[in-house]
Symmetry: C2
Subunit: 339 residues, 2 copies
């Protein structure tokens, strides 16, 4: 009886509901700009056009939501990477803090250079030296302990130029882009040369990207059962996977298992990820952040030791990828400028 | 003007909408059983109680949706694994099909045993031999080409006992459980010793689990640029990561980056994943599928070469984990029984 009554009532109310929904939909006089920190122009238009094409049912470029995979580099793409990668700043601080417990470092490179604050000597140790320092910064800790160290450091360390926490130095226009993509049912991933254990403790809060959508370089881990029966994971002093250059498409395949339709990077380390994205079928978006703003952030490309952008810039220009001119395309750089 | 009219209309229609929604909600007289293929009893109750406790706001065991990570083994937990792991059946078929192009296999173990269909000799080659066969089944192919081979095989191969496609042999009660968890905003992952490249082509369709939520064993991959400039990934003839036993918590840490609050397995290869899940803070669910039904599926545990369940069964009983007695807890095994 109640069902029957309800049925009749529902039938008569369909028109009412339709009208209500129509009115609710009408309320904002026009759609707000989803990317307010981006200046109008071809860069912003290329993003909005792409999203409109792939997300609109009936569009010839329509892509089902489950395949809307967007991959973002982190350093220099979502946050600043100068004067040194922030994870390196963290690792240097960690090594200095741990030096008293590791007296052998006083005479062993690259650790001696770090303790002596001899950046020239440290640079001479090259990528290998850098990885040794990064590995040392996490070795012997459980992932939870390491996450705690990262969060403690982020709470207290300050960027040498901006005198702010490093997580303040994320790009407001990219935060808007991440939200815009997610509002259009993209799944946003980080695909970074940085360590996944370094990023995961804070990416959800800062970028809205949960740990399971962070692909990064990773160290060895071992599982062991402590004497009291408690199982633990322990970080080993070795790098297991480098998610940079050709490692990025490999990381994408291993961790995501689908080819992105949208990728954003800023350096030659992102070239293969952008090529891999471009080589798929259907509509594609490839973006490069070009750091052109020495006044508000940094200006660097072909000659930089950090975030060198040379071959990928040539390829991006030649192939018509979207090149963000930071100085001219972005109204603001950091969220704190808006307060 | 339109806005004003709408506003008035909306205000007057709130009651109507509330009534409509109330009626729609009323239509089914009571909440349908979310696990209809599970017999009532302590097993089913343990699942429903757990979900109710962690998903209800205000519950002392409440867990935010973003942390509701559920990890499922695949072979023997979501689908059948007898008489041999289905990926092994696939790899054996692949090796036989490729034998004419690999004449050296006629005289090299473990390939000779496969070609001669000498299962005793093959068993003698042990896990190492098995991995060689699995690696050979994917080496030299791009991930897309390999996915195509997997789907072609699944479309034509038949299980020796049930004479049905292997993907028909998924467990109906587990499909219901996956849906039930997702309806309660869990994120469901596969964490399997099987190859991720073998599972990802079909898990979304069969289980509703997208490729990026499939953690498995993986082979080496290389990135290269072909002469025409086209970038490709190529599977290498080596196993890179074995997601089994202690590899499971390591795989969880690497790929998911959070500890599950819910895990389901069926063999000693799942023991460390279950321990790792159990050792976290707050409410936890650990489940084991015990294969007790020789009539409808298979009955095996401590002595089985495939899916051996011995130590994990002892630990599960001792610690009060949920042990599914397939024969008594499941009304049906496979979806096709319901047609």
């Amino acid at each position: 009886m109640v069902e029957r009554l309800c049925f009749l009532f529902v039938r008569r109310s369909v028109l009412v509901v339709a009208l209500v929904v129509g009115c609710l939909g009408h309320a904002p006089a026009q759609t707000p700009d989803p990317l307010p920190s981006w200046n109008d122009g071809p860069t912003k238009k290329s993003i909005i056009d792409f999203v409109a094409h792939v997300a609109a049912p009936g569009s010839p470029d329509f892509v089902p939501a489950s395949e809307r995979i967007a991959a973002f580099d982190n350093d220099g793409t979502l946050w600043t990477e100068q004067p040194i990668y922030f994870q390196v700043a963290f690792a240097l601080d960690r090594v200095r803090a741990m030096a008293p417990q590791n007296p052998e470092w006083q005479t062993t490179e690259p650790f001696k250079a770090v303790i002596d604050n001899d950046m020239r000597e440290l640079a001479a140790s090259g990528t290998k030296g850098l990885f040794e320092i990064i590995a040392a910064s996490q070795a012997g800790l459980t992932p939870d302990e390491f996450a705690e160290r990262v969060l403690d450091w982020l709470a207290t360390a300050r960027h040498p130029r901006f005198h702010r926490p490093y997580t303040d130095l994320v790009y407001e226009p990219m935060l808007e882009l991440l939200s815009y993509l997610r509002a259009n049912r993209f799944k946003t991933f980080i695909v970074s040369g940085g360590g996944s254990e370094f990023m995961r403790p804070w990416t959800e809060k800062v970028y809205g990207i949960p740990p399971e959508q962070v692909v990064g370089s990773s160290g060895g881990i071992k599982f062991e059962t402590r004497a009291d029966g408690h199982p633990v994971l322990i970080n080993l002093p070795k790098i297991d996977f480098i998610d940079d250059g050709p490692g990025k498409p490999i990381g994408i395949e291993r961790f995501i298992g689908r080819r992105p339709i949208f990728a954003f990077g800023n350096s030659d380390g992102d070239q293969q990820m952008l090529e891999w994205t471009a080589a798929g079928n259907g509509a594609r978006f490839m973006g490069i952040v070009h750091h052109t703003d020495a006044a508000r952030e940094y200006a660097y490309d072909r000659q930089s030791h950090v975030g060198k952008l040379d071959k990928a810039l040539d390829e991006g220009i030649a192939k018509g990828w979207t090149i963000v001119d930071m100085k001219n395309d972005w109204k603001v750089i950091y969220p704190f400028e808006m307060k």
